[in-house]
């Protein structure tokens, strides 16, 4: 029988298929690991209601557990409490930036709540002279920006 910490470590290899540098733990999709008798129960939560990556993330968890020789497990999906971008870890935010995606503003930022975007820094050159092109980017969770300094378009993980 493995410990929760060991299972957590092996689930680190399960990534978001749309942003393959960030693990489901960094993303805040992994909500809990419980050992019940000889069984492992993993709880996950979707980012958006219609997130098409959810089934792949679930399959990723099942594969990782099987590969580690764990046979007795259950992957449970919960809707509540609703996922928020605030659950993306500091490590996750750093990896997003490295990957070229501006991390989301914190939801406590009053400007984000009012729908006004706080200054978004370009992940390429760091300039905050950027412009929102579309609130809907390449996937449901991202908005499309362009940097006016280096002209590069980039995705921003939007506040949710």
């Amino acid at each position: 029988m493995r410990s929760v910490a060991e299972i957590e470590a092996l689930l680190e290899e399960v990534k978001d298929p749309e942003i393959p540098v960030i693990s489901i733990r960094d993303l805040g999709v992994l909500r809990g690991i419980e050992l019940i008798g000889n069984s492992v129960e993993v709880t996950i939560t979707p980012t958006y209601s219609g997130c098409p990556a959810m089934d792949m993330m679930r399959a990723g968890v099942e594969d990782a557990l099987r590969k580690a020789g764990i046979r007795d497990f259950k992957v449970k999906q919960v809707l509540s409490p609703a996922w928020t971008t605030d659950w993306i870890s500091a490590e996750g935010r750093r990896k997003l930036l490295e990957y070229g995606i501006a991390p989301p503003p914190h939801s406590a930022d009053i400007r984000a709540l009012k729908g006004k975007s706080p200054a978004v820094a370009c992940p390429q050159c760091g300039s905050t002279d950027t412009e929102l092109l579309s609130r809907f980017g390449s996937t449901a969770c991202k908005a499309l920006y362009q940097c006016k300094a280096c002209k590069e378009p980039f995705d921003q993980f939007k506040c949710h």
């Binding site: 209601s49 219609g50 919960v78 809707l79 509540s80 609703a82 609130r135 809907f136 949710h160």
Partner: protein, 252 residues
């Protein structure tokens, strides 16, 4: 009607509204007027269909006959769909699509906000996610309606025509059926008259900013909530359901 039957019907209706509108929006995929809008409508459609999946799965559990989300979506006929007629109208031009989305989003947001305080835990959880998504939808449709209304002569004309044409389909949103009436009494669903007040305020604010006129209330269409639809829903379902109808039970 027992409370369980009423809840099944009401949850099914919410799912149907989202599914049908989501399908209509998905028809813009590859046909959007600009790339960003193509992507925006596809994303919004995905949100709506995602919410539908949660709702229809729940409806299936409430019914207790073992029907899955897919069974409910793909194997019900037109008369068994309980959505309002507003969402089934063909997508037409972009002004019409935007105006329809706006009129629905302005209803959908206060509905989801109210459901985050429903006494039904399951609806509450679904709404907790949906409310954030629908906030974006309303912002998107409002901004585009304002852009069209307060835009060129041509865009203004098309936006006003769309609002005028759609107006008679908005009444049905706020006329409760037996199930909705029953569930509003015990705090499972909000009262539709309360939603109407919020809807009306949003509509006035945005139409005003868009320099569009609010049409007078006249004859209102209805029947969708009872399964009586316009001639447009049947062909839409035929296209949506063709695979399951042709190869029953197919999976991939």
């Amino acid at each position: 009607m027992t409370r369980e039957e009423a809840l099944f019907r009401a949850v099914l209706r919410m799912g149907d509204n989202n599914l049908v509108l989501g399908h209509r929006l998905s028809e813009w995929c590859g046909h959007g007027p600009v790339l960003e809008e193509d992507i925006a409508q596809t994303n919004i459609a995905l949100d709506l269909i995602g919410q539908t999946r949660n709702l229809l799965t729940y409806a299936g559990e409430l019914e207790g006959k073992g029907r899955s989300e897919d069974d409910l979506a793909y194997l019900r006929g037109e008369r068994e769909y309980l959505n309002v007629q507003l969402v089934e109208l063909p997508k037409a031009d972009y002004a019409f699509t935007i105006a329809r989305s706006f009129l629905y989003d302005a209803f959908h947001l206060p509905l989801q906000q109210a459901l985050t305080e429903s006494r039904d835990e399951h609806l509450k959880a679904i709404a907790g996610k949906a409310v954030k998504e629908v906030t974006y939808h309303l912002r998107h449709s409002s901004e585009w309606l304002i852009r069209f209304g307060d835009g060129t002569e041509e865009s203004h004309r098309r936006a006003q025509e769309a609002v005028d044409e759609l107006w008679r389909y908005t009444g049905e949103l706020f006329v409760p059926d037996e199930a909705e009436e029953l569930l509003a009494k015990d705090g499972t669903l909000p009262k539709l008259t309360d939603l109407k007040a919020e809807w009306s305020a949003t509509v006035d604010r945005v139409l005003n900013e868009a320099t569009l006129k609010r049409p007078a209330d006249g004859w209102m269409a209805g029947g969708g909530k009872k399964g009586v639809h316009t001639e447009h829903l049947g062909p839409m379902l035929a296209e949506m359901q063709i695979l399951q109808r042709t190869f029953p039970g197919v999976e991939w």
